[in-house]
């Protein structure tokens, strides 16, 4: 078992190009352990790409990401062991049951006593009574809860969530918020991309806003996250209109 751990993630001038399209353009910021950070921005602004870069699955075209003092390419599997990633596409096998999906993941991550770990995860996802059913028959919300537990099964230090509130009912949303707060208190660094600004406002320590692959500063103030985000987008839109004229 690796002893590698980190308290800080540093994103330095990270750019990512797909051919001529720039998904990320010279993005820099720091993240500290225990923080809950929201990635905000319109569709196509680079949020998922940035999560992919932080997860080490997407290599930056230029710039670097350091976990503590180390680069991801140096750490490899030792770093991946500390990352939990909930993708928007959930990463589940629909033909397998909820238990089989979690069991596969638990064994892949080398968890000791996988059956008890899986039982606890099923209980947290409120899926114990449907554990043996194939995931293909689950609603989006149930799959979302299962996928969240799958991504947290190995007790990661860096939790990356892409649209984690999609398809969740009020109870599940509130449980997820409590879970994120608990993880944060335990020292996890949580980064999630979302469009649910009202929900995000309840749980975020700070927000990182992306627009067309670049960092955009959220206006200071005491208004709600939604109001400040709208102020930023409106200001940018009027600037764009003036430039076009």
């Amino acid at each position: 078992m690796s002893l590698f751990d980190f308290q800080q993630v540093t994103v330095s001038k990270v750019s990512r190009h797909y051919g001529r399209r720039r998904a990320l353009s010279s993005v820099s910021f720091d993240l500290q352990a225990g923080e809950v950070v929201g990635l905000l921005g319109p569709n196509g602004s680079g949020k998922s790409t940035l999560l992919g870069v932080l997860s080490t699955l997407i290599a930056p075209s230029s710039g670097e990401v350091r976990y503590g003092e180390e680069l991801s390419r140096v750490l490899g599997a030792d770093l991946r062991r500390l990352i939990g990633f909930l993708s928007h596409d959930l990463q589940l096998y629909p033909e397998l049951s909820a238990r089989e999906n979690l069991d596969f993941s638990a064994r892949l991550y080398g968890r000791q006593q996988p059956s008890s770990v899986v039982n606890e995860a099923l209980a947290r996802a409120r899926l114990t009574d449907r554990a043996e059913e194939p995931v293909s028959g689950f609603s989006r919300g149930m799959r979302q809860r299962l996928a969240l537990e799958r991504s947290l099964l190995h007790e990661p230090r860096l939790v990356l969530l892409d649209e984690p509130f999609t398809g969740l009912d009020d109870r599940s949303t509130s449980e997820l918020i409590d879970r994120l707060r608990q993880l944060s208190e335990e020292g996890c660094l949580i980064v999630f991309a979302t469009h649910d600004l009202d929900i995000a406002d309840d749980v975020l320590d700070r927000a990182v806003v992306l627009k067309a692959g670049r960092l955009a500063g959220l206006p200071d103030g005491h208004g709600s996250l939604r109001a400040r985000y709208r102020e930023l987008v409106t200001a940018d839109n009027s600037l764009d209109r003036r430039e076009n004229v």
Binding site: F85, S87, D89, Q91, L92, L96, L108, Y109, P134
Partner: protein
Amino acid sequence: MSEFFRIAWLVTRKDIRVESRSREMLYTTTFFAASCVLVFSFAFVRSGRPVEGAEAGIIWVALAYAGQLALGRAFERELHQDALRGLLLAPVERAAIFVGKLLGIMLLMGVVETVVVFFVAVFFSTAFFDYGLLFISLLVAGTIGFGCVGALFAAMLARSQSRTVLLPVLLYPITVPVLIAGVNGTLSLIQPEPNLDLARFWLALIAFFDVVFMTLALWTFEPLMTE
């Protein structure tokens, strides 16, 4: 090393479980391969007498095309809910994931081979198992070579929108030596006067390709899978 094979077996077992529920690859590939043999049997059997040596070509052509179907689907399935990213994020040697996927594909091709050999043996009255060990070795070695290159390309192309077009374009030129060696090796076993030395030569050639392809695949899988 045991951890490497534990992960490979975990991935293979997952693939077997998924396939046992859907059976789409099994049905598609076996049905396709059996149809191939049936069509060829009409072309190559005249007045109850098969064209000499046609069986060897039929077996390897059926396997190559059925194998290509299986290869494409094996990695497409991982893309369905972005499960491939989940696999790649796991703190394991990525080469072990590749070997696990390859074993799953080889098991499926093994089932297809059994069906194809059975049908060819029935339609063409061919005694494949007079030199059973050599014949099975040729099939296993050929499956490893074909599956190894195919799995690597299928994984590489998994995110490409034109993967169904690109996979055969890349796969066949590189695996042609394996297929030619397979056909010639099989032919030297089923001809009226079997030539065992020649069969062993072709087997050794396939084994050489297997070693080269497997080394390249294990070496390049990790960098190729980073986006």
